[in-house]
């Protein structure tokens, strides 16, 4: 399961809401405590998709590399990737699946009319054929 602390969660929601109506993306850093992944820091990253970004995002590998380095330098791990779905539900789309990687949790925030609506976390498989929903806790403000 994955749990997100209040500070990184605020960062993620804010990044998703301010990027609306475009998709946003970013990295989640934290610790792995047994079965639980605890996200203690969120790093907003630039959506590098070259076309219309309303329903697409792309992470620049260099940005991810830097986020991973930042995590390591502080004794943290790169745990997951987050992105938003403006005016769409937080489901793992075909596009998400075909461009996924099984090593991370994929948190999707549904942003409806500019404000956060709901979120889910997914674990895609190695062959990019399916993604299971992951037990997911975010702060209840």
């Amino acid at each position: 399961m994955i749990e997100i602390e209040p500070e990184p969660w605020k960062t993620m929601v804010r990044h998703a809401e301010t990027s609306y109506p475009n998709e946003c993306c970013g990295a989640m850093l934290g610790r792995i405590e047994g079965e639980k992944k605890l996200v203690t820091e969120a790093v907003p990253l630039e959506n590098a998709y070259a076309g219309e970004q309303g329903a697409r995002y792309e992470l620049r590998p260099e940005d991810l590399l830097n986020a991973d380095r930042a995590a390591r330098s502080r004794g943290l791990d790169l745990i997951g990737i987050f992105h938003s779905h403006p005016d769409a539900d937080a489901y793992f789309s075909e596009t998400d699946l075909k461009n996924s990687c099984p090593w991370y949790s994929f948190v999707i925030l549904s942003i409806q009319r500019g404000t956060f609506h709901h979120a889910n976390s997914f674990l895609p498989d190695l062959e990019q054929t399916k993604a299971d929903k992951e037990e997911f806790k975010w702060p209840k403000f």
Partner: protein
């Protein structure tokens, strides 16, 4: 030796090492050396054809090998290699239909045709209504017209929160329930009626009082909230939850012949606390059960709320945001007050101090006497009162209701002095006399007892539950109102 940094998820294959030392003249050699040391990592990096998986990028220091010599990129032996996935995605609405059907069936087209020919609604608007999720707090006076019209208008999903049971006294205004529903859960009665109006409607029933524990969980999945509550703690709770969840709160309230409606927590507009930062002292504003309400009044106010809900979903017209609409049924007048968001508001202001739900019973001062020690000799219940009367005890039974209530029902032998008149009459009583005070349900009489105690009447006691309890427990021939 070159070093390969291992992503967190792959460390289970490298005995938890976060980096692995490798030898090799090229990147391909180095990776081969890695998979020789840790064979289980291989399937994560290579597909069955032995090619690097599509999402795997290898960086030598800061350079992507795709822009060098790919896996033949030469190594000196002091480099750091990183395994970096390429990740992208998106909601891509074109590739697959969204979960809720974004179109109308022929049957729905026929049903909504008067909407569809309005340019402000049209096919697009009707689909928005169909995809909308509205949480309705309360299936009572305001909830009745709200439920009926939201169902009829084609809102796709309505969540109803209510824990109450239909009572005969509800039917004068709660037109979603009928005589045969008396005794049923309001949830069931309302849901049946709404489905009868529109079978396309999905209904979520929450058989609970909204509380600080369940509010965020319940309301989170809805697009907006419509407040049909009849008490201050729940009203503040709904407000705060809506602000925290950033959901518009379509507000309405009614009392006697007057009603109010507005839209809170919508866009840059104010919230309920900007208008009323503090709740009134408990008991100051009587509830509809105590003060009465014109049965038609919630019809008007609830329909205004339903109108605002539909406008917000459609994104058309001018909402009541920043305006408090006041309606006076007796004189048939509408007025408006300007509202503004308070930058110092504790919930929606610039520096909010309320960032989570609190104890709203306590906030509204109706915690069960936590601060004052409960003195049981202060209270008497209906059965005890009956025994006292039967014994012929010498005491005064004081009724602090209003004369028109006295006309509806009374306890034999009681003396009527409305609460508001009581201070003028205190000197008529013996401070040492035994006095039992009652009202309709126990609220006003408690205030009367407090007043009398403060004036030296040591033997004044409140009758809990009022004449309603008397009717329930002692004499069913006394009508309940």
């Amino acid at each position: 030796m070159a070093k390969i940094l291992i992503p967190t998820a792959l460390r289970q294959f490298t005995a938890q090492q976060d980096s692995v030392e490798v030898t090799g003249a090229t990147v391909a050699d180095a990776l081969r050396h890695l998979t020789e040391q840790h064979p289980d990592i291989k399937k994560n990096l290579y597909n069955e054809q032995g090619k690097l998986r599509s999402f795997v990028n290898i960086y030598v220091n800061d350079e992507d090998i795709r822009y060098l010599d790919k896996d033949q990129t030469e190594l000196q032996g002091n480099e750091t290699l990183s395994i970096v996935p390429s990740i992208a995605g998106g909601a891509t609405l074109t590739a697959e239909p969204p979960p809720a059907a974004a179109s109308l069936s022929n049957e729905e087209v026929a049903r909504y045709s008067r909407h569809l020919i309005l340019p402000e609604v049209g096919m697009q608007g009707q689909v928005k209504l169909k995809q909308a999720k509205v949480a309705m707090i309360g299936a009572g006076g305001l909830g009745a017209p709200l439920g009926l019209y939201l169902a009829a208008a084609g809102v796709g999903r309505v969540g109803i929160v209510d824990f109450d049971v239909v009572d005969a006294s509800n039917l004068q205004r709660q037109v979603i329930h009928g005589t045969s529903d008396i005794g049923r859960k309001k949830l069931d009665s309302a849901a049946d009626r709404m489905r009868e109006i529109n079978p396309h409607l999905a209904i979520d029933k929450f058989d609970a009082g909204l509380s600080s524990e369940n509010a965020l969980e319940i309301l989170r999945d809805y697009d907006l909230v419509v407040d049909g509550t009849d008490n201050f703690p729940t009203r503040y709770l709904v407000n705060d939850a809506c602000v925290l969840l950033k959901k518009p709160n379509v507000y309405g309230s009614i009392f006697r012949f007057e009603g109010q409606a507005t839209v809170f927590a919508y866009e840059d507009g104010p919230c309920y606390r900007c208008l009323y930062p503090e709740p009134p002292p408990p008991g100051l504003v009587p509830s509809c059960a105590e003060g009465g309400v014109l049965g038609i009044l919630p019809g008007i106010i609830g329909v205004i709320q339903a109108t605002e809900v539909v406008k917000i979903i459609l994104g058309v017209g001018e909402t009541l945001k920043n305006r408090l609409l006041l309606y006076d049924a007796l004189n048939m007048r509408f007025r408006e007050l300007k509202l503004r968001r308070d930058p110092d508001c504790p919930v929606c202001g610039n520096n909010p101090t309320v960032t989570r739900l609190i104890d709203y019973q306590e906030f509204c001062g109706i915690k069960p006497m936590a601060s004052q020690p409960v003195n049981n000799t202060d209270a008497i219940d209906a059965v005890e009162l009956k025994a006292k009367l039967d014994r012929g005890d010498n005491f005064l039974l004081l009724d602090v209701r209003e004369p028109h209530e006295f006309q509806i029902a009374r306890i034999p032998g009681s003396k009527l002095i409305p609460l508001g008149e009581l201070p003028k009459h205190l000197n008529e009583f013996d401070p040492d006399a035994e006095i039992v005070v009652h009202c309709k349900s126990g609220g006003r009489s408690q205030k009367a007892v407090d007043l009398m105690k403060a004036n030296g009447f040591r033997h004044a006691r409140n009758m809990t539950g009022g004449i309603t309890a008397w009717s329930d427990k002692v004499d069913p021939s006394v009508p309940k109102y």
